[in-house]
């Protein structure tokens, strides 16, 4: 693990901001879990509970113009990149007013206005998309960078290898973020991938960093450094974040395949609890934290109500979006 800046050097305002941003993701997903169990969220959803430090730490180092391609476990990526909460809930609940008109749902949340190029149902597929987005930034010399978020399971897909190679050859402005939670669905990734993402990147000449993905300060510090280097034209970097998937692969997965000891140890890794400890050490008045919790809860409640109040999507409007409408000349 790279050494973390002494917690004291992080301004209180930033600590609270991280806290609020992580809590937003956590509480949004906790609520989705309930809504799913109650049949208010269709399809299947993959929660990133326990992994909030990664998305918040990385996206806090980004600008809106930067682009992000995500994977199936993308709620945190979307919300922390700036997708508006109500339209997020509306989408995942399948409503017309959802950010994607209710056509994509949890696995396809995207918001071009904030550079969120989409969650993705195909493992690995977001990686070359991010490479292409980085190419666009490079060609357009717009100063933006692209970020690919992927899990450890995705390391086995050939597009990762191809994308590392292409990004290295073309010195593309891209940050590859591997969220290593140790699991690929129901299997430990150690039984599926016989290499290490950082060593792999190294073979292609891509430098990398490795952080405790439960520590939002560490993630943010590392990400900020890499983003600065990438923006300066140094080419691609890899950031490996070791983290923990608290819930099942998807909601409804009873996780029988996980050892009890592992499940029991999960709270020790909780990134929000960890930040709370830091916050309490900094003698930030408890009421500020309580206030944040209250704000988040209110926002989530409002978003759920917004979601419930949304309309069923319009079929003909959906059909009209298969192709871009061109004005008749």
């Amino acid at each position: 693990m790279s050494p973390t800046k002494s917690d004291n050097s992080v301004p209180i305002s930033q600590l609270l901001e991280f806290y609020e941003r992580m809590l937003l993701v956590r509480e949004a997903e906790n609520r989705l879990s309930k809504l799913f169990a109650d049949g208010e969220v269709p399809g299947f959803i993959h929660l990133s509970v326990g992994q909030e430090a990664v998305c918040v730490g990385v996206t806090s180092a980004l600008e809106t113009r930067d682009t992000l391609a995500s994977n199936h476990r993308g709620h945190g990526h979307a919300l922390s990149k700036g997708v508006e909460l109500n339209s997020f809930f509306l989408e995942v609940m399948g409503k017309e007013e959802g950010i994607c008109g209710g056509r994509g749902g949890s696995m396809h949340v995207a918001d071009m206005s904030v550079g969120m190029l989409g969650a993705n149902g195909i493992v690995g597929a977001g990686i070359p998309l991010a490479v292409g987005s980085a190419l666009a930034h490079q060609v357009q010399e717009n100063g933006a960078i692209a970020v690919a978020f992927f899990g450890d399971g995705a390391l086995a897909e050939g597009v990762l290898h191809e994308s590392f190679n292409l990004a290295a050859l073309w010195k593309l402005p891209i940050l590859f973020v591997c969220e290593n939670n140790g699991w690929s669905e129901f299997s430990p990734t150690g039984r599926q991938f016989n290499a290490n993402v950082r060593e792999l990147a190294g073979v292609f000449g891509i430098p990398s960093a490795f952080v405790d993905g439960d520590d939002v300060l560490a993630v943010n510090e590392a990400a900020s450094e890499l983003v600065t280097a990438i923006r300066a034209g140094e080419g691609p970097y890899v950031l490996e974040c070791v983290t923990h998937r608290v819930r099942g692969h998807f909601e409804g997965d009873p996780q029988k395949y996980r050892a009890e000891s592992e499940i029991n140890s999960l709270p020790d890794h909780d990134p929000i609890t960890k930040l709370e400890t830091i916050i309490s050490k900094r003698r930030i008045p408890k009421k500020e934290v309580v206030a944040i919790r209250g704000t988040i809860e209110a926002r989530i409640n409002a978003a759920v109500e917004a979601g419930r109040g949304g309309n069923a999507p319009d079929f003909s409007r959906a059909k009209a979006d298969v192709y871009t409408a061109v004005e008749e000349v």
Partner: protein
């Protein structure tokens, strides 16, 4: 004659095939320890060991490529691709390698592999987890494509597919996995390429395959009290498909509807219509109608997907059209 779930029926076929032939091996993502994402391969690792039942990394191109090489070297691999949408990553292995090896090597070898994969919507899985891409494979010389409509057929067709010397795409249906159906362990094997008249009728023929057969049967049931007698032909396999049975039915009813869940345009139904409107030209008292999904990706939201998926009402409307 017990009732068995579709997933279990597939499992039993795998079990029987593995017991009968040590060359049969299974591999795919989470199919061993976890017993498969839909529970289809449950218990097989325990029974046949980790040499023959293997979890793979998330590497579809290599999973199927390796199945081809294994099939050329003495095994009969049955590989699983978790959702049919993911075969997009493995098309080279199926199309350029498996399908062509026998032909392009002058008949020196066969490629006895089975690729199992579920297609279809109905579970709000969205645009990348619901596609029905079987028409792609049916267009490729050298491949066979099987799409069973019920547990008993799934069991028997899978056994036929595993015994088949050529590469077979075995299309399951994720919405059907928990469907129960009559099951007779001793019932005879099904020859790939033979259709089944699932219901006899005189006024109009509906040709279908996979889960949509049940939609056709439902429509037929609904129309019966109206004195419209519908024949339902379950193709069971779409490559090869049973022209003779369809033509014979058409020759009696003189009206034909083709139904499938896949997008209508350039789908399997197009071939059936093209062929029947040629060899059955003189039999047709009305244009052949196709019922399938509209030309759009499978939407996520419940209401959208409900409107998207072809249902019995759509079939009934088509029947009314051809009888008008």
């Amino acid at each position: 004659m017990a009732d068995v779930r579709y997933a279990k029926a597939v499992n039993m076929a795998l079990d029987d095939a593995m017991a009968a032939d040590p060359a049969v091996v299974l591999f795919g993502e989470d199919i061993a320890e976890a017993g498969g994402p839909f529970g289809v391969t449950r218990g097989l690792l325990e029974k046949y060991g980790d040499r023959r039942v293997r979890d793979t990394p998330i590497s579809e191109a290599t999973i199927v490529g390796a199945a081809v090489g294994a099939a050329m070297s003495g095994l009969k691999p049955v590989v699983e691709i978790m959702f049919m949408d993911f075969v997009t990553i493995a098309m080279d292995a199926m199309v350029n390698q498996a399908a062509k090896a026998r032909f392009m090597f002058g008949g020196q070898c066969s490629v006895p592999l089975v690729l199992r994969t579920p297609h279809g919507g109905g579970v709000n899985a969205g645009p990348q987890h619901s596609q029905c891409l079987e028409a792609w494979f049916a267009h490729i010389p050298g491949l066979k494509v099987v799409v069973p409509s019920n547990p008993s057929d799934a069991n028997r067709l899978l056994k036929s597919a595993i015994m088949d010397p050529d590469p077979v795409v075995f299309v399951e249906n994720k919405a059907m996995y928990s469907l129960k159906g009559e099951f007779d362990d001793a019932s005879e094997t099904i020859v790939i390429g033979t259709a089944h008249v699932a219901r006899s009728g005189d006024d109009v023929t509906i040709v279908s395959y996979g889960a949509a057969v049940n939609t056709a049967l439902q429509a037929a049931e609904t129309l019966a009290p109206r004195d419209i007698s519908v024949e339902v032909v379950d193709l069971r396999s779409i490559q090869p498909w049973d022209e003779a049975t369809v033509l014979a039915s058409l020759a009696r009813t003189h009206r034909l509807i083709v139904l499938h869940e896949a997008v209508t345009a350039f789908g399997v139904g197009a071939e059936i219509v093209a062929r029947m409107s040629d060899i059955g030209f003189d039999e047709l008292d009305a244009p052949i109608k196709r019922v399938g999904a509209p030309f759009m990706p499978t939407p996520f939201a419940k209401s959208l997907e409900n409107q998207y998926l072809p249902n019995a009402k759509d079939v009934i409307a088509a029947v009314e059209q051809v009888l008008a």
